[in-house]
């Protein structure tokens, strides 16, 4: 399998995504600096710059434990699991496979920062790509920690079940749609393909006993690479999110809270903008509970963990740009559809 991946992939497309994102970000920052200068000169710029740095660092600091955890998980899978272990669990039926993928978060409790390195590693270890996409979209909401915080915030009510049901539905449908692609490896980015083509070192592949201490060191070293590789995308995503926070007037956004459709769109936009970690988004959503429709709160809790600015940047490292576009648009349309339907038809 490894070999065929290497040959069928379009060469040289690999390094572009990171550079493009970086270049785009630098252009945006320059525009932002010019705009701040035109508004209030140097003092305004410095003020905005320190707000930007503070918000950026707060997102990075908050996300780093989870990214590190995901990287360590990825290292553990690399060192301690054999290829067959993972593919054995997954049913060959694409729909069932997608369903299993979206539920895998119950066993790998990760939020949207940790899930990216883990998914890539699982794909390397033989997890079918569409199942990996279902996992990527489902796991940040459908895992024990996040479900617990949702229960604490909203109780055992319609918001909890709505969140579970809609996330399951949307992650499964999206994964299933991707499974219709004849050559699933074409969904992946070149860097991922290269990564998947690497064979485990002979020492590991053989049954030779390796000391546990060495294995642990190997887990740590693997997770360092993982952290640096995915971490750069976290840095880009977090800077874009904090840049937007200093520009987009949230006050005006939240003022438009009425309406069964508009409220959904606004909270989706806010979820993307805030890039809140899925482990706590229920508490943030709770503050909207009084004045926003139930459908829109569900949209915040379902779409937010799947897609936000920082996770999108990290997706770009694993998947083709085209794949990422569909990974965002499919859940977006499905979420809007479901949330608006709930607002119109179910008096929750």
């Amino acid at each position: 399998m490894a070999k065929s991946i290497g040959i069928t992939s379009p060469a040289r497309q690999s390094r572009l995504s990171f550079k493009w994102v970086l270049i785009g970000l630098i252009v945006l920052i320059l525009a932002w600096i010019a705009w701040s200068l035109s508004l209030g000169g140097w003092p305004a710029l410095l003020d905005r710059l320190s707000s930007f740095t503070t918000i950026f660092l707060s997102i990075f600091i908050e996300a780093s434990p989870f990214l590190l955890l995901g990287s360590l998980g990825s290292g553990i899978i690399e060192v301690f699991f054999a290829d067959q272990d993972i593919s054995r669990w997954v049913p060959s039926n694409p729909l069932l496979g997608a369903l299993v993928g979206s539920l895998m978060g119950l066993f790998f409790p990760v939020c949207e920062c940790g899930v990216v390195p883990l998914t890539r590693r699982l794909i390397k270890r033989g997890l079918p790509v569409p199942v990996g996409i279902s996992f990527l979209l489902g796991a940040p909401a459908l895992n024990p920690i996040v479900l617990m915080s949702t229960v604490v915030a909203f109780g055992w009510g319609p918001v909890l079940w709505g969140r579970v049901g809609l996330t399951l539905l949307i992650a499964t449908i999206t994964g299933f749609i991707f499974s219709l692609q004849k050559d699933p490896t074409s969904l992946l980015n070149q860097t991922t393909l290269d990564f998947c083509a690497v064979k485990p070192a002979p020492a590991l592949a053989s049954s030779e006993p390796v000391r546990l201490k060495d294995k642990i060191q190997q887990v740590l070293a693997t997770s360092a690479d993982e952290f640096f590789e995915i971490g750069r995308f976290l840095v880009l995503g977090a800077s874009l999110a904090s840049l937007l926070q200093t520009v987009v007037p949230q006050a005006a956004l939240l003022g438009l809270s009425q309406g069964p459709v508009l409220s959904v769109l606004i909270l989706i936009l806010l979820a993307v903008l805030l890039s809140v970690c899925s482990t706590v988004d229920a508490f943030i959503a709770l503050s909207f509970a009084g004045s926003f429709t139930t459908g829109s709160i569900l949209a915040f809790l379902v779409f937010g963990p799947m897609v936000d600015i920082k996770s999108t940047a990290m997706f770009l490292h694993v998947f083709q740009r085209k794949t990422v576009v569909y990974m965002i648009l499919l859940p977006l349309f499905l979420t809007i559809l479901a949330a608006v339907f709930i607002n119109f038809n179910l008096g929750l």
């Binding site: 290497g6 060469a11 040289r12 970086l22 003020d47 905005r48 710059l49 320190s50 707000s51 740095t53 503070t54 918000i55 950026f56 660092l57 707060s58 997102i59 990075f60 600091i61 908050e62 780093s64 434990p65 590190l68 604490v152 393909l193 290269d194 990564f195 083509a197 690497v198 064979k199 070192a201 002979p202 020492a203 740590l220 070293a221 360092a224 690479d225 640096f228 590789e229 971490g231 750069r232 840095v235 904090s242 926070q245 520009v247 007037p249 949230q250 006050a251 005006a252 939240l254 003022g255 805030l274 809140v276 970690c277 706590v280 508490f283 943030i284 709770l286 503050s287 909207f288 009084g290």
Partner: protein, 257 residues
């Protein structure tokens, strides 16, 4: 750059992050970035950074992208497929070192009225049932309640007359919303649920002679009876101030629900 040098720099940056986090915890400035309940998690993260760093320092193993390990050299032709180079990804080092530098150079800024102007004043308090089950601040003595408690009380009760004329004693920074009247300002606090990125500004309307002339961002302690005020069509707690004292910016400017 050699792989060995790359590995050492990786290790150094991770040690740098670990020390940075520990220093922020030690100085208490971590709370200018994130909610208090994550401090332990961040301390563990610093330890994990050190553990990972010791595994890469002095290690000269190539990364998984540059798969020309000596052991695999027999399969060299397979590794030429993508035509990419096998140098270590040094750009990634730079990207992860920049925020560390920024954080060291720029001190954390306490969010102030310039951010409120963008985020707006919220009339809804984020309720956390973790800290106070079913929002029980009503059981607190009225002078013990924070800005968040008052706004939360106003959210959770439909009959606001009970709060009328209760004595309030709150601290916060001064902010002037455009829809305020003459002699009014808002005594405001930021509520941070997770990290500063999700901060929400809450405020109480204060009636005080010359209140509209008070400079933004100074910290004040306001005492006086509460009344039901309105701001932009929303009901907010207001204070008919009997005293407004300027105070030092508190060490902990944010409220953690």
């Amino acid at each position: 750059m050699s792989w060995r040098g790359y590995r050492n720099l990786q290790g150094l940056i991770m040690i740098g992050w670990g020390l940075f986090l520990l220093d922020k915890i030690d100085s208490g400035r971590l709370l200018l970035y994130i909610n208090r309940r994550y401090v332990l998690l961040i301390a563990l993260t610093a330890v994990a950074f050190f553990a990972v760093a010791q595994a890469v320092i002095g290690n000269r193993k190539k990364g998984e992208h540059a798969h020309t390990d000596d052991e695999l050299s027999g399969e060299a032709e397979e590794h030429q497929h993508a035509g990419h180079d096998h140098r270590p990804p040094a750009l990634g080092l730079l990207v992860l070192a920049v925020p560390l530098l920024l954080g060291t150079v720029f001190p954390a800024k306490t969010l102030d009225s310039s951010i409120v102007a963008n985020k707006g004043v919220d009339s809804r308090a984020p309720l956390s049932k973790i800290s106070n089950a079913a929002f029980t601040s009503v059981s607190l003595a009225s002078t013990q309640r924070s800005v968040m408690d008052w706004v939360g009380d106003f959210n959770s009760t439909s009959d606001l007359s009970a709060f009328q004329n209760q004595q309030a004693d709150v601290t916060g920074f001064v902010y002037h919303d455009v829809s305020l009247g003459k002699n009014q300002f808002l005594v405001s606090r930021f509520v941070v649920t997770c990290c500063v990125a999700d901060a929400i500004a809450l405020g109480m309307v204060v009636d005080w002679p010359g209140g509209d002339k008070m400079p933004d961002n100074i910290w004040v302690e306001v005492q006086g009876p509460v009344y039901v005020a309105e701001l932009g069509g929303q009901k907010l707690p207001g204070i008919t101030a009997q005293s407004v004292k300027t105070i030092q910016t508190p060490d902990q400017p944010y409220i953690f629900p």
